[in-house]
C-alpha cells in the first residue's frame, strides 16, 4: 500500500462576500449531518451526483443525499486527497481516470477495510450509504462506473442508475420536434427512482410535498439567476472565486429553504455592495470570464492572485447549473415529476435557439458570446483538468470556434512608421492546466507565470483599445 501521508494545509482563499465566507461551515454542517444521520439510523442515506434534478425526490422521501463529488472536492481543497488517490491506484485503477472517483473509491475501500473512518478523515469522513444513485448524464462515464467499483467493498448496498439524456444540438433540426420522446423517457427514469426509493425506505412518496419542493427549487433557480446577474455591475461585486463557494447551495442544497434563504441574503449583500461601489477588486482593471472547466480545488487562492493584478471574474460557466425558468420554452404541467423532466430539458437546450441564429455557433460558444457582452468581459480563462474528460475535452475547440465567429476587438497600435493604425485582435484567453484534486499535476510557479503573461496581454489590449 502506498504511503498515506497528509499534505501541508493550504492557504485560505480570501472571499469578497460574507455569503461566500459562510459556506465552509455550511458544508461542514451537512457532512456532519450525514454522519449523524448514519449514527441515528432513522433515515436512509444515498450516495449520489450533482445536476440530476432529483434532489426534490430525495428530500420529499426524507432520503439524505451524500454528494460524493463534493466530498472528493473537500479532500482536494484540504489538500488531503493524495492518500485516497494512492489507495485507489494500489487497487489497480489508473491515475488518469476521474480523480473524484478515484478519491471516493480509495476512501470507500479504506473505510470498509477498517470498519470505521480512515484516520483524520476530512470533516469526519464520508458516511457509508444505504443505497447509491448513479447517473451517466450522457458523457460522464465515471458517474455510472464509480459506484459499481465502490460496490466491491459494499456488496450489500444497491445501486440504481437513472439515465438523463437530452437532445444534441443540431443546426437543421428544432429540438422541440424530438424532446417529447426524451421527456417520456426521463419521466420514466424518475418514476423508476421514486419506486426504488419507496421500496428501499418502505414509505410512499408524498406528491404534495414533492410539488412544494419543486416549487421551492424553481423559485430558488430564478432567485439565483437574478442574484448572479447583479454581477454585471462595474466593479463586479462578486467573482468566480466566491462562486466556487456559492455553488454549494446550488448543487448540494437545492430544494431546501436554507438554499433559498442563502440567495436572498447574497442578493441583498450584492445590492448593498453595488450601491456602495464595492467590487471584488476595488480597482477593477480587467473583467474575466471563467469560461469552462472545474477548478483546481487545492489552488483556489489563484483567484486571489488574479485579483491582486486587478482582474475580477464577474461570470463563470462552471457550476452555474440554473437558467431562468421564465425564459425557458417548456410546457406547463402540474405533475412535479413531469416538471422536473421538462426543467431538465429546458436547461440543457437553453442556448439552442440563440446558437442557431448565429452562423457557426454552438450552444456552449453562444453562451460565451452572450456573457462576454452582458458582463463586459476582457478575457477568458479556462482550466483543463487532465482527469476529467467529460467537461474539459471541448474547451479548446470552444475557444477556436469563438475566435472564428465572434467579432474581433479593434485596437489602435503604433505601426512601424510610428503612426497609429487600426488592427483587430481576438479576445485573449488563457488555459490553465492541472486537475480537480490531484495536486501532483499542479505547479504554482508555472501557473502564476502564465497568469502574469496573460495579464500583460490584457494590459496591452486595455492600453490600445480603440473607441
Amino acid at each position: 500500500m502506498a504511503e498515506e501521508q497528509k499534505e501541508a494545509k493550504p492557504k485560505k482563499r480570501m472571499t469578497a462576500t460574507q455569503a461566500a465566507a459562510s459556506i465552509g461551515p455550511m458544508v461542514k454542517e451537512f457532512i456532519t449531518g450525514t454522519l449523524k444521520a448514519r449514527a441515528e439510523g432513522k433515515q436512509k442515506l444515498a450516495y449520489t451526483f450533482i445536476v440530476c434534478h432529483h434532489e426534490e425526490i430525495f428530500r420529499a422521501m426524507d432520503v439524505v443525499p451524500i454528494w460524493t463529488e463534493n466530498f472528493a472536492g473537500i479532500c482536494g481543497a484540504k489538500r488531503d486527497a493524495e492518500r485516497f488517490l494512492q489507495r485507489a491506484e494500489s487497487l489497480g485503477l489508473s491515475r488518469s481516470l476521474c480523480t473524484y472517483a478515484l478519491c471516493g473509491i480509495g476512501f470507500d475501500q479504506w473505510r470498509e477495510e477498517l470498519g470505521q473512518m480512515p484516520p483524520d478523515a476530512p470533516w469526519g469522513g464520508q458516511a457509508k450509504p444505504d443505497l447509491m444513485i448513479s447517473s451517466g448524464q450522457i458523457l460522464c462515464d465515471p458517474r455510472s462506473k464509480w459506484y459499481q467499483a465502490s460496490q466491491q467493498f459494499m456488496p450489500d448496498v444497491p445501486i440504481y442508475n437513472i439515465d438523463l439524456p437530452y437532445p444534441m444540438f443540431q443546426r437543421d433540426q428544432d429540438h422541440r420536434d424530438v424532446w417529447g420522446y426524451y421527456h417520456k423517457y426521463i419521466v420514466k427514469q424518475l418514476r423508476g427512482l421514486v419506486a426504488f426509493l419507496e421500496e428501499q425506505t418502505g414509505k410512499k412518496m408524498d406528491y404534495d410535498r414533492l410539488r412544494e419542493l419543486v416549487d421551492l427549487s424553481d423559485r430558488t433557480w430564478n432567485l439565483i439567476d437574478e442574484t448572479y446577474k447583479l454581477r454585471r455591475a462595474v466593479p463586479s461585486p462578486m467573482g468566480t472565486g466566491d462562486a466556487m463557494n456559492t455553488m454549494v447551495p446550488i448543487n448540494f442544497m437545492m430544494a431546501t429553504q436554507k438554499a433559498y434563504d442563502f440567495f436572498v441574503d447574497l442578493k441583498k449583500e450584492l445590492e448593498e455592495k453595488i450601491a456602495k461601489g464595492e467590487g471584488e477588486v476595488q480597482e477593477e482593471k480587467y473583467r474575466l470570464m471563467w469560461g469552462g472547466g472545474l477548478p483546481a480545488w487545492f489552488a483556489l487562492t489563484d483567484f486571489n492572485y488574479f485579483n491582486s493584478k486587478g482582474a475580477s471574474f464577474p461570470v463563470e460557466t462552471t457550476y452555474r447549473m440554473v437558467a431562468p425558468l421564465n425564459e425557458m420554452d417548456i410546457p406547463e404541467t402540474k405533475d412535479p415529476i413531469e416538471h422536473l423532466a421538462w426543467r431538465w430539458l429546458g436547461y440543457w437546450t437553453f442556448w439552442f435557439d440563440k446558437a442557431k441564429k448565429r452562423p457557426g455557433s454552438e450552444p456552449d460558444v453562444e453562451r460565451l458570446i452572450n456573457w462576454i457582452e452582458e458582463y463586459k468581459i476582457d478575457g477568458i480563462v479556462m482550466h483543463e483538468a487532465f482527469s476529467c474528460r467529460t467537461w474539459h475535452v471541448g474547451l479548446i475547440w470552444q475557444l477556436h470556434q469563438l475566435a472564428k465567429i465572434y467579432k474581433p476587438i479593434p485596437m489602435l497600435v503604433i505601426g512601424k512608421d510610428g503612426k497609429k493604425e487600426k488592427v483587430y485582435r481576438e479576445i485573449p484567453s488563457l488555459i490553465l492546466e492541472s486537475d480537480i484534486i490531484d495536486i501532483t499535476s499542479y505547479s504554482e510557479v508555472d501557473t502564476r507565470n502564465k497568469i502574469d503573461a496573460f495579464i500583460a496581454t490584457l494590459e496591452s489590449n486595455r492600453a490600445n483599445k480603440a473607441a
Binding site: 479548446i396 485596437m411 497600435v413 481576438e426 485573449p428 505547479s443 508555472d446 502574469d452 503573461a453 496591452s460
Partner: protein
C-alpha cells in the same frame, strides 16, 4: 551621459544576461544550476566585466524567466513571454509567431508589430517537446549535444519514434539502437517526434509568418528542419537564440526610463548592490 540597461533572464536551465545602450554591448550565457539561481549577482558581475562597466553605471535592470524573483537588484520583473516578444521584434520587425524551445518547457507566442503579446501557449507539465528531451536522447545515444542536429540531417530513412514521453522515447531509442538502426536515422526520428509534439501545442494559435524559433532548440538544425516541415512555414533564427529574453528585458528597461523622462516622473530603482538573494 550614456545610459545602459541590463536584462537578466534566469531560465530553468540557463541564465542569460545582456547589457544594452544603443545596441548590445555585452552578453553572457551560463548554466542556471542549483546554486546559480541564488547567485544571479555572479552572472551580473561577469557581464559587467565583459562590458567594462560598474553596476552603478546601469540605469535600469529588468529580470525575467522562472527565477526572475531571485534577482534582488532588479528594478522590475517581467514574464519571459513579454520579454521574448520585445526582444524578437527588435531583431525581426516582421515577426508574428515565436516558438521558444527552452530547457524544460516550450512556449509559443503571437505578437503584434510593436512586440506586444497577443496570445500565447505554454507547455510546462512535461519535458516532452523541450530541450531536456534532446539532452536525454543524446545521452542515450552517446552523441554530444551540439552534434545532434547536424548528425540527424545525414539521415536518409528517419526512424519512427512513436513515444512522446521522454522516458518512454529513451527506452524506444535504446531498443532501436540494439536493432542496429543508424544513429542518424534515430536522431531524425526523434526530431520528427519532437516537432510533432511542439506543433500540436503551437497549432492552438494561428501560426503566421515570420516564425522565429528561440531557445536552445533553435541551435539544433535537425529540429528546425523537422519543425519547418511539419508547421509548413519557413523558420527564422536569431544569431544568438538564447539571449532574446534578456535582450527584451533590457529593452523594456529602456522603455521605462524613456517614459519616465518623457513624463518627468521619478525613476524608481533598487540600490545598486550585488548580493545573493536572502530569502528563497
Amino acid at each position: 551621459m550614456t545610459s545602459y540597461f541590463a536584462g537578466i533572464d534566469v531560465g530553468s536551465t540557463m541564465t542569460k544576461a545582456v547589457i544594452l545602450n544603443k545596441g548590445i554591448i555585452a552578453s553572457i550565457i551560463g548554466p542556471t544550476g542549483p546554486e546559480q539561481r541564488r547567485l544571479a549577482n555572479k552572472v551580473m558581475e561577469e557581464v559587467l566585466n565583459r562590458a567594462a562597466l560598474s553596476l552603478k553605471a546601469i540605469t535600469y535592470i529588468v529580470s525575467t524567466g522562472y527565477g526572475r524573483i531571485n534577482v534582488p537588484f532588479a528594478d522590475k520583473q517581467f514574464t519571459e513571454i513579454t520579454c521574448h516578444a520585445k526582444g524578437i521584434i527588435r531583431l525581426f520587425p516582421k515577426a508574428k509567431t515565436i516558438i521558444d524551445v527552452g530547457g524544460q518547457d516550450i512556449k509559443a507566442i503571437k505578437i503584434d508589430a510593436t512586440g506586444k503579446t497577443i496570445d500565447f501557449v505554454m507547455n510546462d507539465k512535461c519535458a516532452a517537446g523541450s530541450g531536456r528531451f534532446i539532452e536525454v536522447i543524446a545521452g542515450t545515444l552517446g552523441v554530444p549535444l551540439d552534434k545532434v542536429g547536424d548528425l540527424s540531417l545525414q539521415s536518409r530513412n528517419p526512424a519512427k519514434i512513436s513515444n512522446i514521453c521522454t522516458i518512454w522515447a529513451q527506452q524506444e531509442v535504446a531498443a532501436s539502437l540494439a536493432q542496429g538502426i543508424p544513429i542518424s536515422d534515430l536522431l531524425a526520428g526523434v526530431h520528427h517526434s519532437l516537432a510533432d509534439r511542439i506543433c500540436r501545442m503551437v497549432n492552438r494559435l494561428k501560426v503566421e509568418e515570420a516564425v522565429i524559433v528561440t531557445g536552445g532548440g533553435a541551435k539544433n538544425r535537425g529540429l528546425l528542419k523537422a519543425l519547418s516541415e511539419q508547421l509548413g512555414h519557413e523558420i527564422l533564427v536569431p544569431e544568438e537564440p538564447l539571449i532574446t529574453g534578456a535582450l527584451g528585458a533590457a529593452l523594456l528597461g529602456k522603455e521605462i526610463v524613456e517614459k519616465a523622462k518623457q513624463n518627468s516622473t521619478p525613476l524608481k530603482t533598487k540600490e545598486r548592490i550585488l548580493e545573493e538573494i536572502k530569502i528563497l
